[in-house]
Symmetry: C2
Amino acid sequence: MIVIKVGGAEGIDLDALAADAAALIRSGRRAVVVHGGSHATNTLSERLGHPPTFITSPSGHTSRRTDRRTLEILQMACRGVLSQGLVERLQRNGVNAVGLSGMDGRLWEGTRKEVVRSVKEGRIRLIRDDFTGTVDRVNVGLLRVLLDAGLTPVVSPPAISVNHEAINVDADRAAARTAAALGAEDLLLLSNVSGLMRAFPDESTLVPRVARSEVEAAAGWAHGRMKKKVLGAGEALSEGVRRVIIGDARRSAAVTRALAGEGTVFQ
Amino acid sequence: MIVIKVGGAEGIDLDALAADAAALIRSGRRAVVVHGGSHATNTLSERLGHPPTFITSPSGHTSRRTDRRTLEILQMACRGVLSQGLVERLQRNGVNAVGLSGMDGRLWEGTRKEVVRSVKEGRIRLIRDDFTGTVDRVNVGLLRVLLDAGLTPVVSPPAISVNHEAINVDADRAAARTAAALGAEDLLLLSNVSGLMRAFPDESTLVPRVARSEVEAAAGWAHGRMKKKVLGAGEALSEGVRRVIIGDARRSAAVTRALAGEGTVFQ
């Protein structure tokens, strides 16, 4: 079993990626594909006159301000554009894919943050109408039912809260949880970077391997979205995933290369 | 087994409709929910600066001009807005729903019209880049797998062509095909009309019952989108569905009322 998380940033050739993933799946590997939609959500938000805004937590983490309108736009981007695009590409390559959000079948159950703390001009502001949270539980039953029927699930945010609200969740960490819950051997986190760098963006400082004992140190080297990937990698390893690879989705045969150990291998 | 087709036009209270459908499903009835997205697609098309256009066939049928951009907007509307909205509402009412498009698992396989004929100012124009078609085959396997796992499928356009392209299909007729393929007893076509009228829009001419032998005559009374509903009703009956009801989704308890025979019953 393998979980392949696909980034949606610019510079990624989804046609090539889908063809490569499809070849692996057709060879008999059971796979779940996970994707986010940050870039597409930003673009669509601008076009719909509701520009994206981001908030910084007191601990310095940056996240998307997700009011209900933003959540709807995120759903349009994830479900309408990216999920359907991946499903269509996988189908074209002979893989019978099924697009799902974390709400479908309560696949990703989580907790909505009732209050989000935002630091602005040195002051902490409390935001109560934000729809973000974390995935606490992955209902693998639905995934297993689909995999057993020869289908390949393609999963994306939002997740669903215990109070049945759609919530925005980080797709890297949700992919890590999904890999752990499925008992996957490999988790690939493919995006528009070549891997974790000790001194980003200096490519010569790419870290080829991170041992379990080094994950905390590695998190210290990570910047921006890479932080969540390293965090997810650590969580996946500690929950039984054998290997996590942060790989480059801009190159051809990205899945094959990552499985061959290109990028940053957490093991 | 029941198939409930929900219209997306203005005036429909989706909260009430979802609650009513959920009560039926919780009582033990196996159900598949189908929806389209015409109204939401129109709204979103306008907002994204790609206003909807419609074409008239030589035989007088009107359909949406579906270039690739329109198809993407339709996917955003159907998958991102309506499907996720229905799934969230059903979940809130204790029904574990799963949103799918006709592409997912090749649920609705169809044929793309390679050439669409459009009449404009008395002349016939051939359109070759239109992504519309009809559902030829419903892969009920995926629906059965989900239903057996206690899940309620919520299905919407697009369908997928034999050449793996997303295609826009009429949701009323796709619902009819789905009901027939599942061997459903009842098909409900709920929208913002009280039923078929002999002289639309005169509500006093509502037709309470249409026998199998009268379907052709009934199609003659229908205007606009009602024509597809009557056509779908006829197809469903001829393929073994026991009863088709065209009912009013603007009223409370729309599902319960339709099952009690309110609206136009085809039997």
